[in-house]
Symmetry: none
Subunit: 211 residues, 4 copies
Amino acid sequence: MGNDNTKETVDKLLKSAKKEFTEKGYMKASLRNICKEAGVTTGALYFFFKDKDDLFRGVVGAPMAELRSVIESHMSIEEEDIKNYSPGMNIDLEDDLAAAAEVVKTLYKYKEEFELVISGSQGSSFENAIDDMADLMNNHYTEMFWHMKGYKSKKHMTKEDKFIVHWMSHDQVDIFVHLLTHCPNEKEALKQLKGMFSYITGGWFGVINNA
Amino acid sequence: MGNDNTKETVDKLLKSAKKEFTEKGYMKASLRNICKEAGVTTGALYFFFKDKDDLFRGVVGAPMAELRSVIESHMSIEEEDIKNYSPGMNIDLEDDLAAAAEVVKTLYKYKEEFELVISGSQGSSFENAIDDMADLMNNHYTEMFWHMKGYKSKKHMTKEDKFIVHWMSHDQVDIFVHLLTHCPNEKEALKQLKGMFSYITGGWFGVINNA
Amino acid sequence: MGNDNTKETVDKLLKSAKKEFTEKGYMKASLRNICKEAGVTTGALYFFFKDKDDLFRGVVGAPMAELRSVIESHMSIEEEDIKNYSPGMNIDLEDDLAAAAEVVKTLYKYKEEFELVISGSQGSSFENAIDDMADLMNNHYTEMFWHMKGYKSKKHMTKEDKFIVHWMSHDQVDIFVHLLTHCPNEKEALKQLKGMFSYITGGWFGVINNA
Amino acid sequence: MGNDNTKETVDKLLKSAKKEFTEKGYMKASLRNICKEAGVTTGALYFFFKDKDDLFRGVVGAPMAELRSVIESHMSIEEEDIKNYSPGMNIDLEDDLAAAAEVVKTLYKYKEEFELVISGSQGSSFENAIDDMADLMNNHYTEMFWHMKGYKSKKHMTKEDKFIVHWMSHDQVDIFVHLLTHCPNEKEALKQLKGMFSYITGGWFGVINNA
DNA sequence: GATGAATGAGTGTTCATTCAT
DNA sequence: AATGAATGAACACTCATTCAT
């Protein structure tokens, strides 16, 4: 009972919050403005959200979780593949590209929210979300690396190996960020993704084939 | 004549400001705290600095200017080189690596200040400094690109070409950022720079040799 | 429901504000003092009033609006009368005196507020209120003037005519101001008003009968 | 020795001060701005002027003194005349007009300074200068009044008499203020002065001939 | 005669948050 | 489920003035 009204209030709040956060960034955003724009009192906001950060989470939390799950599921698939890899073998890059495309699709599904996290989350608990994503990928690329490099195990990786893998993880994330922030829509992003793929693949081989 | 005292006050202010800005970021930094820590009144601060942004500039302005000049001088050298380039010819990447090393050296000369710009400048007039740097490099890499690609002129570049060049410019900057924020000192950074170089060179060829 | 408390806070604020504004004038008045004297925090003030100027409006706004409406209603009556005027005819000055008395009564109804506007409003949005009042009267006296002067229409008024009418409008306002600031109460003011009336009537005829 | 430089500094200061005071009014004027615009340090200002108010006096003091002396000398002349006045006699108003013209000339000699006193002196020691001028005239008009009224002495003046004389003194000043602030130059002001004179003379007779 | 550094109290205003109702 | 009043600390910034040199 009253469920409808409740949802309505929360929705108005979230819509207004998204607008304000996007326009001013987390720190400069004013809860007063958000409430005023939503036609709701501050008390109401605090009934539904614990604090400013919680409200921000309300806006970007679900998209971020979905993105994370998309990435994780694709990474586990690729990690299966890589186990069957032996040096000299051709790796089927088509799979990787497809996985990346899947990520891009998710990004455009919640374009505004992700852009908010990328450039307006400083001060909130999402301020390190991009770095966290890179760290998440690091494990995955580490696995790929030592297999492709022909090492017997992860333990044989040098400090330099680890460093470059960490960088490539970051770069992978940056590619997604760049696509999202520079392409007006999903279609365009998917087109440009191919060029990006040439770049990053070239980069990988540059690294793998080096001393 | 008072010169000693004057410089002392400004120095204390700048030192205290650097600390506060680094710890809290531009926006959350408090001028009151900065003055208190410097043992100086707010009025004194405003005698030397126009406003908060001017104080921030006092901390990071000179290093940023120096960096910019280092980058620009190196870019102009490479642009001379590229004019003599003809397709099929081997480009001497050693020069590029040397230029990058020069940049890295400058970065570590003012490590703290650059890290401050990278991660704590939001809200200040330096908040877009990283993007500006990438834009600065874009012109340079555009020149390199069409020469290496064997185009007759810049005009033959497709939308996709421009997009990928723009990305590579960004990525070049990100490499510097990554080195600075992940290597404890210059020596270490210069060592890792080589691996990075393999990566980015591979990336370039991946892009150039593609359809 | 809190109605009592609410009104109480606003009332304390307005009372305290009136005192501070009256003692120091708009510009030198301190919102902090006002809040302290009202036993309220600055935040509370800003819940009820937009800014310093809005608080000032809270004190003098209503009286000013009422005064304006009294003046306007009386002016429209006199303007009807004047339409029936023909040169040589005796004008019934009793009506004018009665209208002026009505204004004086309104002035004393909110004596303190009007005195505040007269001498303490510099810097606020009411700083030109007196001049505005004179301008308001200017239209009215312009009508009276050309009728009494026997002109066929307003268009026949010379530059000198317009100037003197403008002055008389100002002077009419100044008379009210003078009464308010020099008579301790309404009764005394109404008594002195008659002398003032002799003066201004004499002035009018001096002007009308002149070349 | 150094007399030239000194004068130069003071002059720059006064010029800059006049500008700032005129633009912002006494209270909002900033000594810092004045010094900056004059190309001089705050210390220098305080060498020549005791404080903000003293600087303001530096700008408007001399013109005000000159005005006062012009008014006083003319008033003493008229006061001689009035002693020979007997009821029924025609008073030669030409003298009064001439005296007023003299005042107007002085006003336009330092137009800017007087306008500054009129509308920008609040907060300074000149904030009551206009009222003071009216009080100065009050004695004069009091003498005129009881002679013209046919009283045996000042002592026979009623409370109402005194009140109206006080008002007429004020109004005389207001006429000068109005002329100064509404006529672009002396010539124009002298022309309009005649109309004003008809008004004020009519006013006087209205008052004198009344019960 | 003039500098320039420094004071310290003050300004209006905004903020996220709380809580009795 | 929501109101609306209130808190109180914090903010960047400005001011007239002083004084050793």
